[in-house]
């Protein structure tokens, strides 16, 4: 049966098959000819072109990354530094199976789940041919054990890298900021600025704070090395070399000791403190509580830590001093008082009787004073010392919103100050035209009343308040606030001062200023709202307390601190300068959800001044906190 099949061989069928075979052969020949034409094209026609490319491949220009400039405080204490260490890096394109390799690496070098997570994130963000760190800061033992096993891990290498470190962490995080890995957005920006070549080889860039705003000074100039290399970037021979130029060092005007004193005075409370030198605008302290460990961001923060920071109810990543906007509360009153005097709406002698509330003519609604029953007869001096609301309600009604807006905006409220770090917000000093633009509504007289005591639409940042306070302290000079005092050239060592910049001077009548300033001194004396904080001060201490409302209180209701959710309690505010006759420091303090300025914020100012003027270290704040809670009931503003 079988053999019959084997023997079959139809001539016609065979003929047909052979035609098919001939067609196949022709197909083979044609395709081979196509290949041959391609070879001819590459190797004869385009030989020169590819020859040039091959040469270019052999000699490549490798960037030499400059050392980043260091950051010091005004006394030379280090805020940001560099150190060299070894990192374990992987080129993903050279590794067949990343997970297998990581598993195997983990048997000789400790690789945590966090390391893996961070590495996977980096892999997603980077080109496959880029060398990515899986572990930083290898120990000597780890380096040795990897070196012995190196042959097992193609594509994995130990590289000497320079790392950034912030020794002061939380205390200074909102000023110094951090550097982190360059991402696509940074690249776009660099390209736009024409800086891309200078960043060839750089892995990090300043993302926030001083690290960001002084990126140009800190980065330095990238050097180049002409080398014969292989595709992995391993150099075989160096042909020529242009050394990199290190970045310049920055010396901040900030006093780390003062910053520490302020941070200690805050204790565990949230808030912000900005202290300026009224004679030149130097930032002496710039605190936002809580801070965060800025070292976490350098190598790319892992998910766990990120969630912890980002989801925390305390919002540690929020720079309250720069970006937090709060109603200024009664700290707004000194500026209102100056407006009254300068615009001739009140004389220093004028006094009124305070029944404990104010009503607009012909309207029933009562605007209450913080003190039930009122303060009795009140003149301008007393209105500041006891923080009388009624006085300012009636004053505001006489001034009108546009006068208030135009006069007080000269003190920088509702505007960016122009400090030398980015991200500042403008806050809001309302006006009739603003309301029309924003809400398509006309301004009502009632709107003005709440503005008078720093509530309503009013929103300021602690930095703005410090700026405005500085202008009272120095009699109207608007100095640009700046954090960087000097820049040290990394090559010559030469230190150059960043000159103070006087933006403008307000022409205020000295007698008017004197009246307000005298009242501010009396605020910290017996009878004033900050009398406790000012007790026995060895210098004259001027200040104004304030309370910033978090939630509105309905008509006919009273603010009862104990019944209100902790996060909805009022913020304590305090602005101050000292010594009053020759101010060396002006500051604004915000303490979140702790009630009144006199009881919680003013004592912080006292401690900061004691340190700055007398060199006295602050004591623990625990005792004061308990005292404060008892105080709250009888002192509201």
């Amino acid at each position: 049966m079988k053999h019959r099949v084997e023997l079959r061989n139809h001539p016609i069928e065979l003929h047909k098959f052979r035609i098919r075979l001939a067609v196949s052969a022709a197909f083979v020949v044609v395709l081979l000819a196509i290949l041959y034409v391609r070879f001819y094209y590459l190797q004869i026609t385009r030989e020169e072109h590819y020859h040039t490319l091959a040469e270019a491949n052999r000699i490549s220009i490798l960037p030499l990354v400059p050392n980043r400039g260091l950051i010091y405080d005004r006394n030379g204490r280090v805020l940001a530094q560099n150190y060299s260490a070894y990192a374990l890096e992987i080129v993903p394109s050279k590794v067949a199976d990343i997970e297998d390799t990581l598993d195997e690496l983990a048997t000789i070098i400790e690789i945590t789940a966090v390391d893996r997570q961070r590495f996977r994130k980096l892999m997603k963000e980077s080109k496959r041919f880029k060398s990515l760190p899986i572990r930083n800061r290898l120990t000597d033992v780890e380096i040795a054990s990897f070196a012995a096993n190196r042959y097992r891990f193609p594509g994995v290498e130990i590289k000497a890298r320079v790392f950034r470190q912030y020794p002061e962490k939380e205390i200074i995080s909102h000023v110094v900021g951090y550097i982190s890995r360059i991402n696509d957005r940074d690249l776009e920006q660099l390209e736009l600025n024409g800086d891309l070549t200078n960043y060839r080889g750089s892995h990090h860039i300043g993302k926030i704070g001083i690290e960001q705003s002084y990126e140009r000074e800190l980065h330095g100039i990238t050097g180049f090395e002409e080398v014969e290399t292989d595709a992995a970037g391993r150099s075989i021979r160096v042909l020529s070399r242009t050394r990199p130029t290190s970045g310049n060092n920055l010396i901040l005007s900030l006093d780390l000791g003062l910053q520490e004193a302020a941070e200690k005075a805050f204790g565990e409370r949230r808030g912000a403190l900005v202290a300026l030198n009224p004679n030149n605008g130097e930032v002496l302290a710039f605190l936002s509580k809580p801070g965060y460990d800025n070292n976490l961001f350098i190598g790319g923060i892992d998910q766990e830590n990120w969630n912890l920071l980002n989801n925390s109810i305390d919002r540690p990543l929020n720079n309250r001093a720069l970006r937090g906007i709060y109603p200024p509360g009664s700290t707004f009153k000194p500026f209102m008082a100056l407006a009254a005097l300068e615009l001739g709406k009140r004389s220093p002698e004028y006094s009124m009787s305070d029944p404990g509330y104010f009503s607009l003519p012909g309207v029933n609604r009562r605007y209450r004073d913080w003190k039930p029953g009122g303060h009795g007869r009140v003149n301008l001096h007393k209105s500041l010392v006891v923080s009388c609301d009624t006085y300012y309600y009636s004053l505001a009604n006489d001034l009108g919103i546009d006068n208030i807006h135009n006069f007080i905006s000269q003190f920088g409220l509702g505007k960016r100050t122009g400090i030398d770090i980015e991200g500042e917000v403008s806050g809001l000093l309302p006006s009739a035209s603003w309301k029309m633009k924003q809400y398509k509504q006309k301004w009502y007289a009632g709107d003005t009343i709440s503005v008078a005591i720093g509530q309503g639409y009013n929103l300021t940042t602690p930095l703005q308040l410090a700026f405005a306070t500085m202008m009272i302290a120095n009699n109207g000079k608007a100095y640009l606030p700046r954090l960087v005092k000097q820049i040290q050239n990394s090559q010559t060592g030469h230190i150059e001062d960043v000159p103070a910049e006087l933006l403008y001077t307000l022409n205020l009548k000295p007698s008017h200023l004197e009246i307000v300033k005298n009242a501010l001194v009396d605020v910290t004396r017996p009878g004033g709202t900050a009398a406790k904080a000012g007790a026995n001060a060895a210098y004259t201490f001027a200040g104004k307390t304030g309370t910033s409302q978090v939630i509105g209180i309905k008509q006919g209701e009273r603010y009862n601190e104990k019944s209100i959710n902790e996060r909805h309690r009022d913020h304590a505010m305090f602005i101050a300068y000292a010594p009053a006759e020759n101010p060396q420091i002006a500051l604004a303090i915000l303490v979140e959800n702790t009630g009144t300025g006199g009881s919680t914020a003013a004592p912080i100012a006292r401690q900061v001044f004691d340190y700055f003027l007398l060199g006295k270290q602050p004591e623990s704040t625990v005792a004061q906190v308990t005292e404060v809670l008892e105080d709250h009931a009888h002192e509201h503003l």
Binding site: E6, F17, L35, Y36, F39, Y50, A54, N57, R58, E228
Partner: protein, 366 residues
């Protein structure tokens, strides 16, 4: 002396000398290039020599098996291969996003490799069985035998292997006399269905096609291979840079230089003259295979021989095409030259079948 002659007789009895010389020539060229491509890595070269030796022994054994025996293996091989492919689809190990390997306890195997031989064998067997009355439905049946495993391989996903196996099956259909009208019709349908295929493709497969059209689009990513291999070939010029002097190769710019991209190494170091000689060597082997095919006596042997011949050529064309930048990078080794044991064994198994066809008596009488 007599003993020696006898041994030689048994040794060479079913070996086609012409074909063997061609194969050995290509293998020697392969070893020379590999030495350069691996950076004078003697252990890699000796390992490849072992691969070649093993493959040659397998070829010799297959050549000694009469075709009727091989024919009997067609169905079991196909069934086994198909079962293993289904196994891969359900229990396969995932590696680099693809499910291609099956762990069968003792070792890991890649069933698609087995199917490279099993599918043409099965189809040839099928046509041979239905020889007398070849109708359209027979072609349809054969196409089914081809398409199911190809679909499974496509799903792994392994586009390169799927296409090559589909090609080897198509060659059987073509040589079995599939009507020109259907071929033309299918070609038009294929072109028409391209958008559908495009939608079904994995991102990396689309990327490969896009990169083929314009490698410079992604010079550090997917286009890197093609750019570097084009530079290697082009900069070789007419006479090449000389053995072990290719900068692209020696400075490691060229990826996968021992395996899929070994042709670029050869081209860079031996130039157009080398390429010409290499193509001629391949042409000689292919030519001999055509002669064997033309002389084959039965439907089964003709179809299997023709399919093996054309598949061998397809490997050469696809590999050289991708290395020189006219085809997408699909991961196909250069037959007899690329480093690696699996493809070497598969190739020589095919040549063993061809030799068996050529050397066993054409007409068997009992």
């Amino acid at each position: 002396m007599i003993e020696l002659r006898k041994i030689w007789y048994y040794f060479s009895r079913y070996i086609d000398g012409f074909l063997l010389v061609g194969i050995l020539t290509l293998m020697i060229i392969g070893l020379i290039v590999l030495y350069s491509a691996s950076g004078a890595n003697v252990s890699k070269v000796s390992h490849q020599m072992i691969n070649m030796a093993v493959a040659l022994v397998i070829m010799w054994m297959v050549a000694n098996i009469p075709l009727q025996q091989i024919k009997r293996l067609a169905v079991p091989m196909y069934v086994l291969g198909f079962a293993l492919l289904v196994g891969v689809a359900f229990f396969g190990e995932i590696n680099n996003g693809a499910r291609r390997w099956l762990n069968i306890g003792i070792t890991r195997i890649q069933p698609s490799e087995l199917m490279k031989i099993a599918i043409p064998l099965m189809m040839a067997w099928y046509f041979d069985k239905h020889e007398i009355t070849l109708r359209l439905r027979d072609y349809l049946g054969a196409t089914m035998l081809l398409m199911f495993p190809v679909f499974l391989i496509l799903k792994q996903p392994d586009l390169g292997t799927a296409l090559l196996i589909a090609a080897s099956g198509f060659y059987v259909l073509f040589l079995a006399g599939l009507s020109w009208r259907i071929i033309v019709g299918l070609s038009i349908t294929a072109i028409g269905s391209f958008p559908v295929l495009w939608a079904m493709m994995h991102d990396y497969q689309r990327q490969r096609i896009m990169t083929l059209l314009d490698p410079s689009q992604d010079p550090l990513g997917a286009g890197y291979h093609t750019i570097q291999s084009s530079i290697a070939i082009g900069s070789g010029g007419i006479i090449g840079k000389g053995w072990q002097n290719g900068t692209q190769t020696q400075l490691d710019f060229l990826p996968e230089q021992s395996t899929d991209f070994i042709f670029a190494v050869f081209s860079e170091e031996f130039g157009l003259i080398g390429n010409t000689l290499l193509l001629l060597a391949y042409l000689v082997v292919i030519g001999r295979c055509f002669v064997i095919t033309a002389n084959a006596s039965t439907q089964f042997t003709r179809l299997i021989a023709g399919s093996i011949t054309l598949t061998f050529f397809t490997y050469i064309f696809v590999n050289m095409g991708m290395v020189s930048g006219i085809l997408p990078v699909v991961g196909v080794p250069l037959p007899l030259i690329s480093y690696g044991g699996t493809s070497m064994v598969t190739m020589l198994l095919g040549f063993g079948i061809l030799m068996s066809i050529q050397t066993h008596p054409k007409l068997i009488k009992t």
